[in-house]
């Protein structure tokens, strides 16, 4: 079944832009990205849009649909009424390049600053060994497709550009948590998480978890456990004392 949908798409670049109205045909079973492609093919040949896999696995087609950070390829048109106007805008937290394409290099710069995985030395037979139950917690975070929707929706940087220098954003806080929980890793990242990557800026309002297309529980399983680990290190006098007098080994 085909119908004509009303679309409002942000067009412009860093110099300025606005929302433009379009009427585009929609077929049964389509997603927003299909409609954006039809728009590009039939009415706006120069519309800039970043996309790749169309399967919710590459994290390229992040945008804001009716004000909510979503993947365009994973947003079914059937979730909207046929008479509803669908508004598509670029990610608000990042500099716009053109139309729906933003410059997400802030994220790559933060990624590069995180102390890399540093395993302990190998066992005598030259292998690293770890048990499944030791790594499955951090495997949840490995599902991240780096769509940066969590970064986009996090009010710490979305509403306060000035915090970008001192806050890494939820994606990289769970990266820190993943490494800190890793059974083989030997680097203590707790001080850095608080001082360099701005863990204290997070006020656990959970928008990152709400928008994650992979369903990662960023706050409950990553950021809060990391906050608790930082409390062990910096704010809890008993654990601090225990560690100082050698009664409380790391594990």
């Amino acid at each position: 079944m085909t119908y004509d949908a009303a679309f409002r798409v942000w067009r412009g670049d860093a110099e300025g832009g606005d929302l433009r109205d379009f009427t585009v045909a929609v077929n049964e079973g389509e997603v927003v990205l299909d409609v954006i492609h039809r728009l590009q093919a039939t009415q706006a040949g120069d519309l800039a849009v970043r996309w790749n896999c169309k399967a919710g696995k590459c994290g390229s087609c992040s945008a804001e649909i009716n004000g909510r950070p979503r993947l365009m390829c994973m947003t079914r048109m059937s979730t909207f009424g046929e008479d509803e106007t669908v508004t598509v805008t670029p990610l608000r937290a990042f500099p716009v390049i053109r139309d729906l394409v933003t410059d997400v290099s802030f994220n790559y710069e933060k990624a590069a600053q995180i102390p890399a995985f540093t395993p302990r030395s190998r066992e005598k037979d030259g292998n690293h060994r770890m048990q499944q139950i030791d790594v499955e917690r951090s495997q949840e975070f490995r599902k991240c497709i780096e769509c940066f929707l969590c970064q986009d929706t996090c009010h710490v940087i979305r509403d306060h550009e000035e915090n970008k220098a001192s806050f890494a954003g939820p994606r990289f806080l769970i990266r820190l948590a993943e490494l800190d929980m890793h059974p083989l890793d030997v680097v203590d990242r707790r001080d850095a998480a608080q001082e360099e990557f701005g863990l204290g800026f997070c006020n656990v309002t959970k928008c990152c978890s709400e928008v994650c297309p992979e369903g990662i529980h960023l706050t409950d399983n990553g950021i809060i456990p990391l906050k608790e680990r930082v409390v062990d290190r910096k704010f809890d006098p008993l654990t601090w004392l225990g560690a100082k007098i050698g009664r409380r080994p790391r594990d």
């Binding site: 412009g12 860093a14 300025g16 832009g17 606005d18 929302l19 804001e64 009716n66 909510r68 950070p69 508004t87 805008t89 608000r92 937290a93 500099p95 716009v96 410059d103 290099s105 790559y108 710069e109 590069a112 995180i114 048990q131 139950i133 030791d134 929706t153 009010h155 710490v156 509403d159 306060h160 550009e161 000035e162 915090n163 970008k164 220098a165 800190d180 890793h182 059974p183 890793d185 701005g198 204290g200 800026f201 997070c202 006020n203 656990v204 309002t205 928008c207 928008v211 409950d220 809060i224 456990p225 608790e228 680990r229 930082v230 409390v231 062990d232 910096k234 704010f235 809890d236 594990d251």
Partner: protein
């Protein structure tokens, strides 16, 4: 990790007033969300305000908190010689005008104020930081929990420990509710059930706490070497997924248990006896 070469497009200068920088897409609207995003913060404000008003009234009312054998959870443990009832040793004599609830309220209040779930709830609904996802907050500046006073949210685990003591006392109160007015065991009334349900919900709320999850095993990196703590962690993790539900259910049950005792103590209703 592979370092990515800078493309010269890193963090940019903030716009006027710390708002969106000029290089962001020019969209004036605070949000383009069309759903009723304001409903949840509004309901949270109403529910929490209702609780605050009721509990403040009851704490300062300083009366009708004991109806043999039931004591209101707002006043337990009741520590002063002015206390109604005999559920707890009377430790000191305070001025008459200070309600015994005021000596102890800081602990359950502190536990809930620093709770990771309630933080989300009140930061969103009272402080609008943010009111809902992808809805701009009204503040010009934001430092989160990096400095005084919010850095004190990090003491949550100490309030958790205190909460466990309170749970034990309220469970003891529920056990005492199996006595009758004369102190003989073998009684059970609707009030007994109310106190029992309240104690159970408070245990669920405390044990599903994020700090509890960390303490029982979350801090470990090698679960395989600590099978018992791994089991604890697994159970607490399962509870933790429902922490929000337990937070609301126990808040409601505390208020309801107090209200029930209030009603019985003022003879507005009489306690339904099972045996």
């Amino acid at each position: 990790m592979t370092a990515t070469a800078s493309r010269g497009t890193g963090p940019v200068t903030p716009g006027p007033g710390g708002g969106p920088a000029p290089r962001r897409a020019a969209i004036a609207a605070r949000t383009l969300r069309k759903d009723r995003w304001w409903l949840q913060p509004l309901l949270t404000v109403l529910a929490l305000l209702l609780f605050i008003v009721y509990s403040t009234f009851r704490a300062f009312q300083n009366a009708h908190y004991f109806a043999e054998p039931y004591i209101s959870p707002f006043f337990s443990p009741c520590l002063t010689t002015a206390c109604e009832g005999d559920t707890f040793p009377k430790l000191f004599t305070g001025p008459d005008w200070i309600s015994p609830a005021l000596y102890i309220l800081i602990f359950p209040l502190g536990f809930r104020l620093t709770c990771y779930y309630y933080r989300k709830a009140y930061y969103r609904s009272f402080w609008l930081s943010p009111p809902a996802c992808a809805v701009a907050e009204p503040h010009g500046r934001y430092t989160g929990e990096t400095r005084f006073p919010l850095i004190f949210q990090n003491v949550h685990r100490y309030f958790f420990y205190a909460g466990l003591v309170f749970n034990a006392i309220l469970t003891y109160d529920a056990v005492l509710a199996f006595r009758d007015e004369g102190g003989a065991w073998g009684h059970m009334g609707l009030g007994t059930l109310v106190l029992l349900a309240n104690a159970a919900l408070l245990w669920l709320y405390s044990l599903s706490c994020h700090s509890c999850r960390h303490i029982v095993g979350g801090r470990l990196n090698n679960f395989s070497r600590h099978p018992l703590r791994y089991r604890f962690w697994t159970v607490v993790s399962r509870l933790n997924a429902n922490h929000m539900k337990f937070a609301w259910a126990s808040l409601f049950s505390v208020a309801f248990a107090d209200f029930y005792v209030f009603m019985v103590a003022t003879d507005t209703i009489s306690d339904l006896r099972f045996f």
